[in-house]
Subunit: 337 residues, 2 copies
């Protein structure tokens, strides 16, 4: 199986190489593509030094392409790559809402990849990072208790905007401490010692696209369009790992104990929930970790039998690179590639 | 009127002097008290240099005492000061939940100070900072539409833990950028490039005391114990101004337009809500400002006719020092001091 990464020099590309290093995915060849600016640099994976090449204009000679070079490139190139026979696992939002494109978190709806019709398009969408982390915690609770309403407030890291987001936070922090002017290019406002309740574009209903992605993608991945969900998406001055405060109204009453037991048994989830020893989900502990952290699990004070909880997950891993590689692993395990 | 500040050298004490500088409050004398460590330093207010004195053990010769030296000192000293005839405006949580102690945000329930019985105890409680900011936005909406449920997620600044909280964030940030070890004393974990979903002590129901304060104090200040409210309180690496994401279920349906008009007309509130020009509440714009900012006002996606909004307010001002001085001003305007 020939594997290619497009966008190899970005923040997600960097994580893809790290995840592939430890993955059991079998591939005979790995080629790395990026923009002309990054081409020529040498990256390493599984003991091999690989020179980053300029992304070709047409087809790519690969069986599986992990695409993470932004929505614009995916939009024009992914159909070309797929038409030439590749399976494209696309990290952008370009195809996520098309009925014929599966949007997959393998632990939750990997089985849609076993249906015969998805391969028509050849493109599989990797979810929005905030959503991927969220559904990992919601799915086990939904199966057991039936989620009616979910209210989500996010605390999103600067690396959600890529490596340049982290660099901007670091530079602004240095300048701020030295009393120098703080300049913002990546974010709409300075992010150092600030927060910005604005991620992605504003839509006509007053929500941002990031906030609506969480609704749209939760519905599609969990196959539960009946869930009412509202999100407030906020950028905060952290480097990586997104956190989410979640309040749930449930069809059937839940206890924190029962929720904890279900989440402890769920693949890809760590219950980090011991107030006595000051253990709860935090970017400090969730960064670099494959599993998402869930904690602060308690009975809701607004919905009888409902739950409040706090989630933190590395959005560059489960929210992007890890999930993409897990999709490829799932396909290989089921002989689909 | 003789005025005294206890805890003059702390973060709130510093703000009290700044607010008094611009306030119309009439006083003939201002005395400043602090711990022996800070005594002897010289602070300025209204052109006068005032030497900080060690807080005496017994009564203080003042008509009004603004107390901001922590719950322990308030608990033992405020009753002594009040018994000697002073009106104590106490910034701690020590007396907030006593039936005989008014808990006041003047714009909302200043009228309780006009009732005859409150002066029995002589103590007036200044609310929790997160709550004071929240109720400024909720009260106009509650009057018009009747709030049934409120879900609140907070983004709280390090200065909520006093000047030492800000110093810890700054020191940790310097160390982090220089690759030196990060040490935490004020907060339970490092706060630099992190968040901590834990403010104040954990209670048996899994909520923190900070989270329950928001419920208890909203009920008392708004005189609306029927509101169901759930809060997740999170410390983030900002210096000052607390933010809050709020989802509201209402008795009577509201439009964002109607909510905006009501909040624009409310004293102490600035509507900052123009996505087209990237204007929304942020610590960057709310810090140092008397009015709280409300924005991101939009129709709820989980409650028909409900609202989602985002609030940011300087918790050292409206959440502490400003509100305390406003209580004193209210008393003076109504000839109660």
């Amino acid at each position: 199986m020939k594997l290619a990464i497009v966008g190899a020099s970005g923040a997600v590309g960097h994580e893809l190489l790290g995840v592939l290093e430890k993955s059991s995915l079998n591939f005979s060849e790995l080629r790395l593509y990026a923009s002309p600016r990054s081409a020529g640099s040498i990256l390493e994976c599984r003991g091999q030094k690989i020179t980053v090449e300029v992304m070709p204009e047409g087809a790519i000679d690969a069986d599986v392409i992990l695409a993470s070079a932004g929505g614009g490139i995916s939009k024009t190139q992914a159909p070309i790559w797929a038409a030439a026979g590749a399976v494209v696992i696309d990290n952008s939002s370009a195809f996520r809402y098309e009925d014929t494109v599966p949007l997959v978190v393998p632990e939750i709806n990997g089985d849609v990849l076993l249906e015969s019709d998805w391969k028509a398009g050849g493109i599989i969408a990797n979810p929005n990072c905030t959503t991927a982390i969220l559904v990992m915690a919601l799915e086990p609770l939904h199966k057991a208790f039936g989620i009616k309403r979910a209210i989500v407030s996010t605390y999103q890291a600067t690396s959600g905007a890529g490596a340049k987001g982290m660099q901007e936070l670091e530079q602004q922090t240095r300048n701020s401490l030295e009393g120098k002017p703080v300049v913002n290019e990546v974010f709409a406002h300075p992010i150092v010692f600030n927060l910005i309740p604005h991620i992605d574009a504003f839509l006509d209903n007053g929500y941002t696209k990031e906030e609506m992605k969480v609704l749209w993608e939760t519905h599609k991945i969990m196959r539960a369009p009946q869930i009412k969900l509202s999100c407030t998406a906020v950028r905060i001055p952290t480097m990586r790992a997104h956190s989410e405060a979640v309040t749930l109204e449930l069809e059937r009453p839940a206890t924190p104990q029962a929720a904890r037991a279900l989440l402890e048994a769920a693949a890809g989830v760590d219950v980090v929930d011991d107030p006595a020893t000051k253990r709860y989900p935090m970017p400090l502990t969730a960064s670099g970790k494959y599993n998402i952290e869930v904690g602060r699990i308690r009975s809701s004070l607004v919905f009888d039998g409902g739950l409040d909880l706090f989630i933190c997950g590395d959005q560059l891993l489960k929210g992007a690179a890890l999930n993409a590689v897990q999709i490829a692993e799932y396909l290989q395990q089921h002989n689909k590639i």
